[in-house]
Point group: C2
Chain length 398, copies 2
């Protein structure tokens, strides 16, 4: 199947409308914490607050979303003001005395937990960068650049952060080059940073060389430092939705570089491999974990369907289709889109459920918690809406 | 319903037979690591090894099981020799230079991960104590007593172990008094230790005072240091199977103390409360997590059915029935037993699957991994078999 120009226009309308009239209104303005700043995002299906704590990742992600809506959808004052509230909360309450960020704080900003990695920082980078573009606030731009430098330092200085595992069996995850690549892309597209292009080249090279395995058609989630497969349970565990997210980060880079054919080829391979391994042919949807050799996965909930892999697959397949015109990707996009909006979307209250059983029934009703908030879904609807707008402007039927 | 003397004899035969002819032969002798000592326990449904790493908790638990079989079922030389292999592996490879134990090591004993708590140590205590009784090895007895002292020290010295959370919202879990109570019970029953009775009194007092909430008929999994409920997602999360395990530890203590009516009452209340909250009236089986106020649980797999809560519920209900004669407990025992042996037991290969979807279908086929091994199931079959043997000797129809 191919998408006609009408199909693409319908999809554009659908994503734009969902974003502005369904997803964003679920969260805002009700999640604004008028007392302490930042956002109260841990909510049940109908929006009832189930916990007033704040997840630092998601404070940053929400501030990024609000700033990005202001920058790219419409310059609504309330979005800019709401973004500022999150930026201020991050700056005032989410940094420890060692300069690293917390993971989980109370509504008033008292720390509950700090973790051994720096993903709170990467989301603070994209939040500050997008907010700096929206507001013109040079301090936010400087903060974004400084924190990005810290993230690069954490990633490249062995022993700087306390390790979770001993040095007996060293490994590295695809998550680090992926998140840093996307952070660099965001930084470049909002406020610019001369470090980004070269760093992105390096992240892509690492993914291509060490994580993508053409011989077994697979993208590994973890490998040994030399890229070899670690044949133990953790080393064999694949996360198809995560690898598919990595695929679209690379396809996005291909597009940024004038449809670079080599990067299109790499991103499409990653998508192909992990769609084959991740799509559930029996019930539909994308499995959370798989074992590279088909052995049991330690995580017993491995066959559940989570919301965010579907957001990433919707972006990746649509981007692959617009870049290649390959009808396979239109078909996959329709499969992922139809499955997701049928099973995850809450028609009654808006937004998506986060967690389905393998058979597509809802396993847990929260819309927001320590790990889920206004990010993957609105990012998908925003990204696809903008992508389709470009495509509709520049092409007839693909 | 009541169990007749014939029912009890049938159950006794069933558990004894399962233990010796189904469960234990799944693991031994094939799991003995003849090269490095200890056990290779990470196995798929048919016994195929899926990982040759060693989980330190489970090395200790397996050495406990083998020693206990030798002590209480039959003095088979191979069980004693196999127990010694695990004890030696623990002593030679599982301790860090600071005296604390690792969590996860390679087959050769190289450390992979150390965690911030001391459950590896508690299982090393029961392993050494049971092995000391079996072998007469005084060094093992000393090791058990010494490590038990270290566990008490870790539990009672604030700040001795690095905390996972900040001091902003202090909390404590029922797991600590539970595991230490059971460890003390094991120590007392194998090699004796004059500290145990008083310590057990203290653990029971803490559970009764701080975790058991009669007003809402609930056993909390975590509370504030003063026993109050922490109304955040983590603080509200209940683990019914774990609380039911705690219930039988207390019922076991009641029995040890000549059927102490106050402890019988406490243990039965805990079982009643958490059976009501944990049993799935729609599909059968025990839910993994519940929220005390019926809100969404953060762990998305909260409605899965795990093997071990069912082992604990089978023991707790049978023990409550033999101590009280209340027919309700015979009914619940039959419900838990029938559900578990129908859904978890692998009739083809022996042993149980570990992880079922809510509807009772198998979610993951591994029999052994970093968290599952020869412990809860053989302990249940062993405990119930011995309990029934006593009951059959001493009573007519209950």
């Amino acid at each position: 199947m191919a998408y006609t120009q009408t199909d693409l226009k319908d999809l554009h309308h659908f994503y734009s409308n969902q974003l502005i009239n369904d997803t964003v209104p679920f969260w805002f303005p009700r999640s604004l914490d008028r007392e302490h700043g930042g956002y109260l995002l841990m909510r049940d299906q109908d929006g009832t607050l189930i916990d007033d704590d704040k997840a630092v990742w998601i404070q940053g992600r929400a501030a990024w979303l609000l700033s990005t809506l202001y920058n790219t959808v419409e310059p609504r004052t309330e979005w800019l003001e709401s973004a500022k509230s999150g930026i201020d909360f991050l700056n005032n309450h989410c940094f420890d005395t060692d300069g690293r960020m917390f993971f989980h704080v109370t509504k008033g900003g008292q720390p509950i937990r700090k973790r051994r990695y720096y993903f709170s920082e990467t989301f603070a980078v994209i939040a500050n960068a997008a907010y700096a573009k929206a507001s013109g606030d040079e301090a936010a731009a400087e903060k974004a650049r400084y924190l990005f430098g810290k993230c690069i330092e954490y990633a490249t200085t062995p022993g700087l952060l306390e390790p979770k595992f001993t040095a007996t069996r060293p490994s590295k995850g695809i998550g680090v080059p992926m998140i840093l690549m996307n952070t660099a892309q965001q930084l470049r597209e909002t406020i610019g940073d001369p470090r980004c292009d070269e760093l992105i080249d390096g992240f892509i090279k690492e993914i291509r060389t060490d994580f993508v395995k053409d011989n077994i058609r697979c993208v590994m989630e973890q490998v040994a430092p030399d890229g070899s497969i670690i044949d133990h349970i953790d080393g064999r565990t694949l996360n198809p939705g995560h690898a598919i997210e990595g695929a679209w980060f690379i396809l996005h880079e291909a597009k940024h570089r004038g449809n670079d054919p080599d990067l299109i080829n790499l991103g499409c391979k990653m998508l192909d491999y992990m769609w084959e391994r991740g799509w559930d042919n029996e019930h539909g949807g994308i499995f959370y974990f798989r074992d590279v050799f088909g052995k049991p996965v330690q995580e017993y909930w491995q066959d559940m369907k989570f919301w965010w892999p579907h957001n990433e697959a919707i972006i990746a397949t649509l981007l692959a289709y617009t870049l290649t015109g390959d009808e396979k990707y239109a078909k996959w996009h329709k499969m992922a889109h139809d499955y997701a909006y049928r099973h995850f979307h809450d028609k009654k209250n808006g937004e998506w459920f986060g967690y389905l059983h393998r058979d597509g029934t809802v396993a847990q009703t929260a819309k927001g918690n320590l790990f889920k908030g206004p990010f993957h879904l609105p990012r998908q609807e925003w990204y696809c809406s903008h992508l389709l707008q470009e495509v509709i402007k520049t092409k007839n039927d693909l």
